[in-house]
């Protein structure tokens, strides 16, 4: 090729610099430039929307944690981006696309309606006596107190007397003190700054809540509630959180919020405020973040009940959590109050009682009559609530029996992985299974909450006693082992919720297991083995399989991610058919290209036309010139030769694409397996992208600008670049989205593309099946060099997935590409 690349670019750059647009462009030029700018704005917003879609898909697939509030903010801003896209298209089309506004308003309205259900409640009672509560009152009273009201009023079981200070009181308190916004921000702090930043931020927010003034009406309601419930009796109160959604079967929040005991009535307002503040402790924020619950959704009510002077207290499961089918009631008991037991700090007496055979259960703390009452209460509540129940109970010094709370047993999500049969003798045996399953990894001993952030991915958490604070690492640890702790404690509930195999009460674990030693924990078999025993079946899925927030996210995503408009050539490709923001942006994107196309037809001057590129390439490229991108040697048009392209970035890209040593025209060593896999996937359901863009590739060019989109092989890619004199404006933006081929091959292809782009200094962000790469503010010469590289990549990656037979092939091809060994492709 006669055109020396480097010299050519420098020459073009110099020419572009001399040919600056006139200072006062005429109206026609202004309109023309406006079209181009609006078009470019559409393209850039299109990328923002696609980024959100990829993020939502990742969150839905459990590949990344999410916070509903952060998602909500992003969806709101993306809806606005979609608005700007719609507006620009309608302006480009001279008002011919105004029906899109209706479609956007409809979708936006549906999204807003979804949020409206979760906005804070500011109207309603501030305080409700327990005697008036039913299960249906959870929106005001929180789940725990509403259920306790149900127990007291509908099940004929004794509970302590008391009342609930409602979510309305909490909302007014936080609103009047302007605290919501600060609380809302905590999840973003965690997302951006990690656990260390969160601790500091939570301390500040907690402090602000503790100092905030309690509204007078709340103080008055509390005084009236005490008077009405207890009269002049001197009582001591237990003050406990009762958040909306807390203690549900899907999300226990077990042990995350504060419970304050032995509070005198005059201290109640301050105690109430402290419990409200506990909703914003690091562990609570982390838990909600991991489960995707928003602070406003997990609204806090606070239960206040008379303290029971307990002789004996504990928990009862109407069914064993690890074996819900068996006819056994599991009872944990300890002398005195039950708090230490639930917190996992002391071993308890655990009894497995078969209904009707209470006398055989043994145990030192409870008599037969107590056991019979507990078994009947547990099964009665199970019958009433319709699912296995996890009950807290107490027997006072006079022998009166109380139910303190009742909630569904948190069932473990994934089926336990069977432990491999082994002849090896275990390092340790015993303890209680808190969550069945098998996990292996290096031992990491946790002596306090400060050690948690250092726990490695896949580590086995070993601790002296169990703690709900472990929730912050439950996503990444392989198993949990503790010396002390109860399978009926809070941590056990959380472990089951997250599906982490957990073995508690295993004496000597911290002494015997050395940090770094690789062990396999068989929680179901209550054994710990040395080494990494091969596991049958798949690894446990990361994170909970389902949660209220995930359901909400799914509902939300249904207005954002689905792509129904795939084929622009059918009548259904219309604003009325847009069901999601994806549909909408897809429509705008497609129409924007068309509009620019027609704009070219409408324009009088030749340079406003589009051209067919005359080049030896396996794709048809149509070129739109939006200003100085084409220098025609002849008049008329229809076709443009490569030498007539004066757009610096496009010329560079073409230079790479036309590299003669890349022999796309020769048959290549196609692997049969690869080819079949491509076929198979295509038949299973053609990937939307292959239908999306017609066979044509488009290049929109000016002297310094290029937007090139092409479907090469089975993927779709866009290069958007600006390459001029002003270094600060220069960029290359590359987007690559796969299609066809099976998941494995797609991932290898993504890995190949990412590896190449990273080696070329791009900032690369790959998610799902989408690679985004950016290079900003580089000198024009370097930007042009990278465009040559992208030209090579465009041709080499065409059908690469057919060659991607093994995991190492991605790295192998990346190395070959970077070395310029084109014959390999």
């Amino acid at each position: 090729m006669g055109w020396s690349f480097r010299r050519g670019v420098d020459g073009l750059l110099a020419r572009a610099a001399r040919r600056r647009p006139p200072a006062a462009p005429g109206v026609r030029d202004a309109a023309f430039r406006l079209t181009y700018e609006r078009f470019r704005e559409i393209l850039s917003y299109n990328d923002v929307v696609l980024g959100l879609i990829a993020d939502l898909e990742d969150a839905l697939a459990g590949r990344r944690p999410f916070s509903l509030d952060v998602v909500r903010e992003r969806v709101r801003s993306v809806a606005l981006d979609a608005f700007v896209m719609v507006k620009n298209l309608d302006q480009l089309a001279g008002g011919a696309e105004s029906r899109l506004y209706d479609a956007l308003e409809r979708i936006d309205g549906e999204i807003n309606a979804l949020w409206a259900a979760t906005t804070e409640r500011l109207n309603g009672p501030l305080l409700v006596p327990l005697a008036a509560l039913r299960a249906g009152d959870a929106q005001w009273a929180g789940t725990k107190m509403a259920n306790l009201g149900e127990v007291a009023n509908r099940c004929g079981l004794a509970t302590p007397v008391g009342f609930v200070i409602t979510t309305v009181a909490t909302s007014r308190f936080l609103s009047e003190n302007g605290l919501w916004e600060r609380c809302d921000r905590l999840e973003a702090v965690l997302e951006e700054g990690g656990p260390s930043a969160l601790g500091q931020a939570c301390e500040e927010v907690g402090g602000a809540i503790e100092r905030a003034v309690i509204p007078a009406e709340v103080v008055e309601s509390i005084a009236a509630g005490i008077e009405m419930t207890f009269g002049s009796r001197r009582v001591r109160l237990a003050v406990r959180s009762s958040a909306v959604g807390e203690d549900s079967a899907e999300s226990s929040h077990a042990g995350l919020y504060a419970t304050l005991l032995d509070i005198a009535p005059e201290g109640l307002p301050a105690a109430w405020r402290s419990v409200v503040a506990s909703a914003f402790s690091p562990v609570a924020v982390t838990y909600r973040y991991e489960r995707g619950l928003s602070p406003r959704e997990a609204q806090m009510a606070v239960g206040c009940v008379e303290m029971v002077q307990a002789r004996c207290a504990g928990v009862a499961y109407s069914r064993p959590p690890d074996d819900p089918a068996s006819d056994v009631v599991v009872i944990g008991a300890t002398s005195g109050a039950g708090a230490a037991l639930a917190a996992g700090e002391t071993s308890a007496e655990t009894l497995f009682v078969v209904p009707g055979r209470e006398a055989r259960a043994g145990g030192a703390l409870l008599g037969d009559a107590d056991l019979r009452w507990l078994v009947s209460a547990a099964r009665g509540l199970e019958g009433h609530f319709g699912s296995a129940q996890d009950i807290e109970w107490a027997v006072d010094v006079s022998g009166n029996r109380f139910v303190l709370q009742s909630r569904p047993v948190v069932a473990f999500a994934p089926p336990p992985v069977p432990c491999p049969v082994t002849d090896r003798s275990p390092l340790l045996a015993g303890g209680n299974c808190a969550c069945p399953g098998v996990g292996s990894g290096p031992v990491f001993v946790v002596r306090g909450a400060n050690d948690l952030p250092s726990l490695p991915q896949g580590g086995v958490l070993v601790a002296h006693h169990s703690s709900p604070t472990f929730v912050s690492v439950m996503r990444r640890c392989a198993a949990i082992v503790t010396d002390v702790g109860s399978p009926t404690g809070h941590m056990a509930s959380l472990a089951r919720e997250f599906g982490v195999p957990a073995l508690v009460g295993l004496e000597g674990a911290t002494g015997k297991l050395r940090p770094g030693q690789v062990v396999t924990v068989d929680a179901s078999g209550r054994r710990v083995y040395e080494g990494d025993l091969p596991l049958e079946g798949a690894a446990r899925p990361i994170g909970p399989s389902d949660s209220p927030a995930l359901e909400k996210l799914r509902a939300l995503a249904s207005f954002v991610t689905p792509l129904g408009l795939t084929d622009p050539s059918v009548p259904g490709f219309a604003p009325e058919e847009c069901r999601s923001l994806h549909d909408l942006t897809r429509y705008v994107h497609e129409r924007a290209y068309e509009t620019v196309f027609h704009f070219g037809d409408l324009a009088r001057e030749d340079r406003h036309h589009s051209f067919k590129l005359d080049a030896r390439l396996p794709i048809v490229v149509r070129v739109f010139d939006v200003g100085g991108g084409v220098t025609l040697a002849r008049s008329g048009g229809g076709r443009v030769r490569v030498e007539e392209i004066s757009s610096v970035p496009f010329r560079a890209l073409l230079d790479g694409m036309l590299e003669p040593r890349i022999r796309w025209d020769l048959p290549r060593p196609v692997s049969v397996r690869g080819f079949l896999s491509v076929l198979g996937e295509s038949m299973a359901g053609p990937p939307a992208e292959t239908l999306q863009i017609g066979r044509l590739s488009y290049a929109i060019v000016s002297d310094c600008y290029l937007n090139f989109s092409t479907k090469a092989g089975y993927h779709f890619q866009t290069v958007d670049a600006y390459c001029g004199e002003s270094q600060n404006k220069n960029y290359v933006h590359f987007r690559f989205k796969g299609g066809a081929a099976d998941e494995m091959r797609r991932q290898r292809r993504i890995r190949f593309v990412s590896a190449v782009l990273e080696a070329l200094d791009f900032r690369v962000d790959s998610r799902s099946d989408l690679v985004h790469a950016r290079l900003d503010k580089y000198p024009g010469g370097l930007i042009a060099e990278r465009l040559v590289d992208l030209g090579h990549l465009t041709m080499c990656a065409r059908q690469l997935d057919m060659l991607m037979d093994a995991d190492e092939s991605a790295d192998h091809f990346a190395a070959a590409f970077l070395a310029g060994l084109w014959e390999r492709f």
């Binding site: 202004a30 406006l34 700007v84």
Partner: protein, 123 residues
């Protein structure tokens, strides 16, 4: 074409005055009003090509002002500017014939570009 004249309407004086000064420094004549009624009086008094209107103002809001300008002064292009954007307001504004709907904060150059376009379009 006569030099373009712009009317800035915003209840936030701390936004209004610096913006006016910067626009004038670029050689574009600029007047200000801090509410809808004042804006309508100014429009009745003098010729303007373009009104840049904040959407959220106490009393007559930007949407209502847009409605009146389109009715009584149809030759004046209206650019809506807002810091509290919503899809609903945006769609409403464009439906009522706003020339452009811009989000604060905005670069002066971008605002001036829009003003020039608005003026060019009206001409």
């Amino acid at each position: 074409m006569a030099d373009p004249r712009v009317l800035l309407v915003d209840d936030e004086v701390e936004f209004l005055e610096p913006m006016k000064a910067r626009i004038e420094r670029r050689g574009i004549a600029c007047n200000t009003a801090t509410n809808g009624e004042d804006a309508l009086r100014a429009l009745a008094r003098e010729r303007f090509d373009c009104a840049v209107v904040d959407v959220r103002m106490p009393g007559m809001d930007g949407i209502e002002l847009l409605r009146r300008i389109r009715r009584d002064f149809p030759s004046v292009a209206v650019v809506l500017l807002t810091g509290h954007a919503s899809v609903e307001l945006g769609v409403q504004g464009m439906d009522l014939g706003a020339f452009e709907y811009l989000l604060k904060p905005i670069e002066l150059d971008d605002l001036l570009d829009t003003v020039r376009r608005a003026v060019a379009q009206q001409a």
